[in-house]
Structures are given as C-alpha cells and as structure tokens.
Symmetry: D3
Subunit: 237 residues, 6 copies
C-alpha cells in the first residue's frame, strides 16, 4: 500500500478501515488470553516481554495500528485522529527502541476518543498517573526518556508488533498473562471455540479439585509407557 520502494521516509495513514463488531470484541474479552490463544490453535500471541503496568487487568478492542520511528512519537498523535470507540492502540517502533513514547497526556487524549488501552513494543512513562487513571498499558519497558516529533510513520497499516502480525480491525485481547490477536475473519469462530473450551475446563477443574489425577482423567498412562516412561523405586537411596 505504501510506496515502500522509494528512498527516504514516507508514511501513510489508512482511513476508514474496517473494524470488528464491538459486541463480538466484548464477547472475546470475556475470555482470558490463554484461553483464546489455545482456542485458535496456539497462534496469535505477542512476545512475552510485553507486560501490564498494573495488575489485575483485562481489555479487548479493535487494533488501531501505529508505527513509530526510534525515539520519535509523532505518529501517535496522528493515530489519535483515526481512533474509534472500542479501539486499542497498538504501537511498534520501526527499529527496536525502549524510549518512553507515551504518557498521561496522550492517554487523556485517547480516553476522550474512546480508546480502551495501549499495547506498545517500546517504553511508556507516567505509569503512576496511568495506573491512577485506570488506563491499561502493556509495554516492553517503563522509561522516562522522552521522544522527538520529526519523522512520521505509518498509521493503520498491517504491522508486526512483538513478533505478531496485526492488521487494523483485528481483535486484540490483553490481560495479566499477555496479549493475543484474533484475525477479524476468525473472531466469530474463536468466540465459539473459546466458549467450548471454557465449558470443558469447568468440569475438569472440579474433577482435579477432588483429587482425580490428570494421568487418569486424560488417560495418559498407556501413551507414557509407549513413549518410554519407566517407574523405579527410590526408597533405598
């Protein structure tokens, strides 16, 4: 989409991108990240170095994607204008950087436009204020280091953030365990699979709580023996 073959920095903002219906987004947000990640075949997880600035926390929203140049947060200001209620801002630097790209003022602006949180593969600051505001953030670092505004970067284009490929309008769910992305076209199926998974877990939980062994509940003993597991006695040592 961007004319990516020319020399020098050039950036695009893609407007009016499709989003996932918020009812569906919220339904996915009712499940935890681990459940959704399992329900879609263990895909879609962002790297585990992204951590929430406070706990417990859980949020779901439409991805509002935003690249930033290293040490430069200009395009975040551009992204705010593209925000719609129910979005989560997803920020990825074009080369690794842990500066504090984001703080209380930008959060105030995002809240005014209905944005539910921030996922950033870089640093944030004002974490005391962000925590007091209840604005959820997942970041690679906490860092007071400020940034300049000299180089714009892409907004609402597909990006790679913390190792995951994310397109505008994909659903992002984040909680204490991390961050996962669900493709817009898979959202309905992943909701169903997550619900089915959760229903299934309730029964398992009860049986395990009563002392039943996973070895028996999952009928693992024969397979383990075939795979070479052997039992020996250690009482004499």
């Amino acid at each position: 989409m961007a004319a990516c073959f020319v020399e020098g920095p050039m950036a695009v903002v893609v407007q009016n991108t499709k989003r996932t219906d918020l009812e569906l987004v919220d339904a996915l947000g009712a499940f935890g990240v681990a459940t959704i990640h399992e329900a879609q075949g263990r895909t879609g997880l962002l790297a585990a170095h992204l951590r929430p600035i406070y706990r417990p926390v859980r949020v779901a929203g439409n991805a509002l994607t935003c690249e930033v140049a290293p040490g430069d947060n200009w395009s975040i200001h551009v992204a705010v204008e593209q925000a719609r209620p129910g979005d989560i801002l997803i920020v990825s630097p074009t080369s690794p950087c842990e500066d504090g790209y984001f703080g209380e003022l930008l959060a105030t602006s995002l809240v005014a436009h209905g944005v539910r949180g921030l996922v950033i593969d870089a640093g944030v600051r004002d974490v005391a204020e962000l925590t007091a505001m209840g604005f959820p953030v997942w970041s690679k670092a906490v860092n007071a280091q400020g940034t300049v505004k000299e180089t714009p970067a892409n907004v609402q284009t597909p990006i790679v953030c913390a190792g995951a490929y994310i397109r505008p309008g994909d659903v992002v769910i984040a909680d204490d365990d991390g961050v996962v992305v669900v493709r817009r076209e898979d959202a309905e199926k992943v909701r169903a699979a997550s619900q089915s998974r959760e229903d299934n877990e309730a029964e398992k939980r009860q049986r395990l709580a009563s002392g039943e062994l996973g070895l028996d509940m999952y009928a693992m003993r024969e397979q383990l023996e075939q795979r070479g597991l052997r039992y020996v006695d250690g009482s004499g040592e």
Copy 2:
C-alpha cells in the same frame, strides 16, 4: 506415533523417595531466603531471574523435582501423582524455554494433593487466577504460550534448576527475595545456624537504629586503613 527413528529420550519416575520431616521444613520456612542462604555459607541460591508472581509471599517444602521437554508439559502431569503434602514442585526444562507450562488447572490439581507452591525455570500463565487462589509461584516468565504433551521427562531425579543442584526431598524455601535449597542432610544444622543468625541480627538492628555506625559496631576502621582507604577533604571543591 512413537518417536521411532531417532535414538531418543527416555524418562524415569523415581518413586518413594525420602523427604525431610515437615516440622523441620516448617522451621526453616520461618526464616527468610537471605538468612538461610547466609547461614549455609552463601550456597544453595537459585538464579535471581526467578521471581514471585505476587508479593509478599513465603513458602517452604520438600522438593518434588520434574524435568520438562521444551514446549512440553507432559511430565508435570506425571509429577502430580508423586506429590505428597508439604511438597513444592520444582520444574526445569531440558533446554531453555519460556513457554507457559503451568496454569490454573494444574495448580488446582496440586493443591488437591497438598503441594504448597511451584518453582519453575520457565513460564507460567493464568497468573491472575493463581494469585486469586493464593498459589505461590516463582518463575522466569509470565507467558500465555501453551505447551504440548508428546515427550515425557524425568520426575523425582536430581536436577539443575536455575543453576542450583536439587534432589528430591531437599528443602526449598522461597520468598520475595528468591529461592534457596537446603540439602536434606544439612537441614537440621541450617535451622540452628539460621536461628543463631537471626538472634544476632535483632541486636544489630537495634544498635543501628539508634545511630551506631557499622564501622564501629563491626570494628572495621583499622582494616579499611590497612586495605588502603584514605579520607580526603572535599569542602573546597
């Protein structure tokens, strides 16, 4: 289905291993990790990258050791059957891996068998639920990434976990500062040395709180001079 064509891994479960008496375990658990580590000559500490998922926290128990293949938590299910009340599960991957090997269901199962906590040189997930349950965990990472069940690994054999050598039935104590292991045969002596150390600290604490200098309390001035420490005046700079 078996891993047929390679000379492969084989795994053992050692049953009926000896444990340290729980009264002694609990006595050690009354001391902090730093005290015990000092009391046994600054040995036995696990690497500092193991961090508790919530604070404050302290627990002590008999080591229930468990290896896991990378990205594979099958042997944790095997380990549950070997658990006895008062154990702490100690999990070490056979090659470094930060996947989320452990979550709420396994914790529910361990609690049902009297296990007091988990120390894992890898990742965990469901940390909101584990925190709500009050199930103590020390891990290298928090990570929603799931694991498979294809390759069994050793249970209740001596292992290296986070740089420390741990045998089944050794005593493991963990708190906000980290994790330490006490050899079963040393447990009684380490209890005494820890008590003596703690008694000694109470008096020191009082003297320091009253303003006495460590330089005087420990009689360090002469030694420092011998080692070449010199005092100069900086008031003119």
Copy 3:
C-alpha cells in the same frame, strides 16, 4: 489459510507457491543488505540478533518459509521437499527457542535440492562442518542441543521471522550486516532503486576520500544552525 481457529496443533504445507525470477533475485543479491534496506525506504530488515556463522558471506534467494514447534524440527524435513533451486530456507519457531534445529545432514539435503542458505530465528549446530561446506547460515544462536520430531508446523505459509513478515517467494538477501526481505511485487523497483543508490554512492565515496566534508557535500550547515547547533571554543579549558 490454515484453519487456525480449531483446537490443537494442525499444520499445512502450501505447494506450488509463486517465486521471484532468479535473474531478478541474483540482481538483488549483487547489492548489500544495507543498500537494499535503504532503497526500499528502510523497511524489511530482520532483527539484528541474526548473525552469520562465518564471514564474509552474501546470498540471495526465494524465501522457503517454515515454522517449527519449540524443540522440534520435524517440519524442516517437510520443507525440504518443497525446495526449489535458488531458495533460502527461512525458519521461525512458534515460540522462542534456541535449540540447535539444524546441522550438517539437513544442509547436505538442502544443497542437493539447490537451496542456497538458511535463515533461522533459533539455534544451529555442526557449525564447523557447515562452515567447511560453505553453506551460509544466519541464526540467533549456536547450540548443540538436539530436537525431537513430534509436532509438525506450517510450511510455505506467510510467517513472522525475527520481527519481519515474510511470504513464500519473497526475496531474501543476507550478508555480514544481516538479513532483509523484499516483497516479490517490489523486487523490480527495489533493484532499480538499489542500483541508483549505489551509483550515487560511488561519487560520494570519492569526494569524501578526498577530504570533502559531509557537512558541505550534503549542505547541512544551515539546517544544523536552525535546529539549534551552536559552536563554542574549548581551547581555554
């Protein structure tokens, strides 16, 4: 493409994917990674933790993409069958892992099918033998740790490798500086832009070698003054 919403691991192999013409691939391979990266607007670079196992080295080829489970190299065997002369194998684990997924035997097999090299966001082994063979490898680690063959993963699907999004048949160029991907549809334009860039550099190199300052050659002095650069004398200090 893969039914990514169902529970459990499932993998696909996409056959007969399009490739970039080898003449064009080789033309790109005549430029270094830094030149190509600049020529396409500073995009497409893989993370700098990928390093060549020997230097100097340069190679270009069509991306033959391959995911692997953590600690499991089964799908690399699957990928070999999909190889075509002029390919470079691009391997990315589904969760971070530094095991030694690849060694001399797999390299021998790839060479027999015309594959020109390997880019892997994980570990390799047999590096002495690979170096002696002249088989180029860029990896995250060198590690003798072996892998199992239990869990297949996707071959020839779009993947994220070391932070870059790569599709089968995109062009990958790698040298001492790192690894860059060029989208198949941009390859022709990037070739032209790279050539233009290189022509331009020859003249710059000559002027700089003769002592001309970049400040003058690029006419930077006025801009620097506008940006607040000031000169002061330090001879008196």
Copy 4:
C-alpha cells in the same frame, strides 16, 4: 590478610562535600522524573533497568555516591558515616554485578542518619522488609545473594551509575518512571523550567480531555504533510 602481591585498588572517601539546599531538593521532588528530564533538555536520566521495589513511590535527595567492588559491599558501610539528612545513597559496582548488596540492616542504619532512599545499579535483598519499612529502593535486580567485605571502594567521588554521571551533592529524583539526576548548579533553573512545564501541561490536559486533537493543538498538520505523510482510503479492502 592484606592484598599484598598485586598492584591494587586504592580507595578514597571525600568528606565535607557540598550539598544542594534541601528546600530546593524538595521543590524538585514535587515534580515527576519525566517532567524534570524534559525540563533539562532530556538529559540526566539513569538507565531504565533501574526499577522501584514497590509502587507508587517518589523521593528526592542529595546524591551520596558510593562505588562497590563486585560481590563486596564494604564501602556501603563506609558511606553511612558520610550521610547527612536528605541524602539518597547512590551505589554503582566497579564491574557489573547483580548480587544483593543491601538489605534491612543497612536500611535501618541509613534511616537512622536521615537517608531517604537507595539507588543501586546492582541487586538488593530483604525487599519484603524494605517495603514494610517504606524505604524506597531502585535497583537492577532483587537477589538474596550475599556479599563479602574485603575490598573498599570510593565514597563521595563522581561516579557513573546506570549510564549517568553523578557527583556528590547533585540532586537525584526517583519515582515509578525511573531516576534522574540534576546537577547542583542547574537545580534552581530546572525547578523553574519544571514548574513552567507543569503549568503548561495543565491546560493541554484539559483541552485533550475535551477531545481536541494534538494534531490541531500543536498545529502539526502542515509539517506532517511536508514530511511526506499521506492519507489514503482503506474502506474498500
């Protein structure tokens, strides 16, 4: 017992160094680290790997500088004698080390002499006790590993701590975002600039909260266009 045979380390303690007036120190402490860092032209920040052991927290004080040998905390005892009310102890190892140099007893001693907190580019222990005491600490690691007392190092000399150059009596401010140093001779001006910055932010916050865009408030649109930002429509995709 002396370090006899090597050309060895020698250490100095600089006494009676100047300090910044505490009224000024406290005035700076009213601002957050991010504000002060911006107010002095984005300088003075310590590396972001220094993290507080509890949150929220904020403190300001005069730097009481102290080097330590790797695995050796002897000079911290020396530093206590040099402490004055309103100081913050700044500790930097002479080569990287993450041992637990500092715990509850040293904190008790420092509190008795009016020291307000600790910044250490190494590890600390007894974090549960330090948290309960309300003694603020910023460190690189939490680590129960103890240290010896064999090698003195410099106290109250200029040091590099976490990448920042700090002299005795410079002002150090630390909060949830990190740690910043203000040179003693700049403290008055930085106070004024911080106040001006904070006044300015109050109005911005209000406008952003009402929904005004940063693009308009900061008049960025023309500059962004000049820098090559382009808007495209994505509704058809």
Copy 5:
C-alpha cells in the same frame, strides 16, 4: 563434603580425585559435541552462551573443577596445583560475574602442567594472546576487567557450570558447537553409542546428498498425516 552449613566463606580442595582414562577421553574427543550429546540421550550440554574464543577448535579432557567468588580468581591459582595432564579446567562463579578472570599468564601455567583448555562461565581476557598460543577457551564473555585475590573457593568439588552438573574426572568435550559433559561411569557406553551414531550418519549423508528426501528415508509421511499435516495448493494466489 564441605561443611556448607557454617557461616562465612570456607573452601575445600579435594585432592587425588579419580580421573577417566585418557585413551577413553581421547576416543570421545574424536566425536563432536552434538554427536555425544545425542548419543547420551540429549543430556549433559552446558548452556549455549559459552562460546569459543577462536574457531575451529575441538578438545576433550578430564574436568578439573574450580569455583570462584565474584570478581575474584584466587582459587584458579589453587586449581593449577591439582592439574594433571589431560585435564580441562572448568570454572564457575558462585554468583554470576563476567569479569576477566583468566589471561595469558594463567594459560601459560596451565599449559606447563598439561591442561588442555578452559571452560569458564564468566569472562576471559588476553584473547589475542590465547589465540596465538592455541589455548582453547570457552567463555561467557571477553572482558579486560581484572579480579582480586581475597576469597578462596572450592576446587575439585562437584559444581554446576552453565547449568550442567560436573564432577571432577567427568569427561568434558568442547568444540565450535559448545560444551558437553559425560559422566565418568558412562564414558565407555557413550563412546560406543557415539561411534554407532557416526557410522549411521555416514550412510544417511550419502543418501541425502544424492537427493533422497528425509521424508522417505525416515518414512515420515504416514506419521505426519496422522499428526494432522495437510497439503494445499497455493499456485492460484
């Protein structure tokens, strides 16, 4: 063996420990690290952060084990006296440290006593001189930082080095791929298994070089299908 429960540092040197016969050591040294690691069931590998200071290189020897305090290399001098021809010195710090514990003078001394190389989970210096001497070293870092001689540590006791448990007289083999330890009592069996593995690989290599696919040679196709691998056509994309 050491009275590890007493307060304060105390160290032991275990003399006259058993060694593995050098003929057997040399036989193992004829195989690469990856082969031996596989032949003993993928165990015994030291962490991959240990890298050789020059390549190519391969060596095998009896482990001469040595702990060191952080920033203190005194016990290496103690270890030299315990050296026997055919030993490899294995050094592990009691807490993590990357100082340059070892250089040309110590290497000169070790060579004079028949020691074949060094494996150290810390830093080394004089790497130009060590390379010129042809003295093989595997280390965690190259670092000119010197060390003191104040705190002795254990020599010829079992240690954990880079995550592996090593006893005096175990066999250590190291090459470009890393470092592996073979238990003294397993050495004969591992030699046989390694030979068998190598014999087997020669035939595989030839078949793969001729273009035979691993999928066929290892008869993997049916298993892959059972595990859910599916082939789809991508020619229309």
Copy 6:
C-alpha cells in the same frame, strides 16, 4: 557548558579542545587494554558488550566525542569536521539504540581526516567493507538499520560511553579484549606503570612456563590457609 536546563533539544560543538600528545598516545597503544586497565588501578574500562568487528586488532588515539540521538546519526557528520589526525571517534546515543549509525562512507571520510577508528555504543553496518578497509570498529551490535538526520547532538563534550566517562582528548586504547580510557592528565603515569607491569610479567611468564606454581611464586599458601582453605583427600570416593 550546554544550557542544559532549557526545553527542547539543543546541541553544542566544542572546538579546539586539547589533545594528548600523539607520541604518548602511541606509547600507550603499545600496551594491551588489560595491562593499561590494571596499571591505572582497574579503572577506565568500557562495558564488555563493545566488541571489535574483526580480530586481531589494536589501536590508540585521542577521544573525539560525539553524542547521537536515537536512530539519528547527524552529529557524526558534524564530528568529522572536528577530527584531527590520531583521533578515535567515540559515539554514544542519548538513549539506548542499536541502529546501524555508521558505515563505509563515514569511515572513508574519517580516514581522509586521519581518524584511527571508531568506538560506538550502538550498531554499525557495512562491516564487510570496514573489515576490508582495515578500519577498526568496536560496537554494541552489527545492524543494517539506517538512521535519519533530524536532531543534532553534542560533539566534543564530556560523555558517558558504555558506562565510562570520557572527555575530549582523553586517550582511548582498544584491542581484542575491549576498550579503556586513560585521562589526559594521567597518561604519562599510566605509561610508566604499564611498562613496569609488562616488565614484571615477562619474568613471571618464564617462571610459570617452567612449571613453577603461582601458589609459590606469589607466596599464597599461608594466606589461603588463614582464609579458611582446607585440603581433603578424595581418592576413596
């Protein structure tokens, strides 16, 4: 010197700074980094993550200091004008960044002005060309990632680079072991101390090569016993 308390980036270039006499610089360059570091009391070392792009290599020169903004190499162009024959360019980013700030063209320009090498706490590119030119570089990373030219930074001011405080005209020596800085006012004394140290080592080397033990040569046995070292027999195990 810079008005560091005002808002916004402002940068200075300090001209006509003093340098160390090149004869003295070259005399220091005759010693290795480890020797010089020891000779000045184990101070002045830059962090060990700085590694040479080729080996073996050794160079010494006057520090030509240069800060750079993250992802922005503009001030390197400014620094070239300040270069004098015998300088080494020392580059430090104002916040951590591993982009490829420097390549063949800048090296060509520096060589034309007599600069002897580069030390950069960030990334470089064109390492094949730099190696072929024989231009020595010590860097934190090799990275093809390009930089912009938007934000000037200080040139020839005192800086912190890789944890060391360096002023213009201080002497920097770099070799395979790393990088060390000698203060201009200490250069003469450090030369003498280094020579004395090297003379002393020649005799030690000879004695150690003949088999004499360090324990005897340094008369360590009594001290070791006093520090608690004990010898035990392990032949019966």
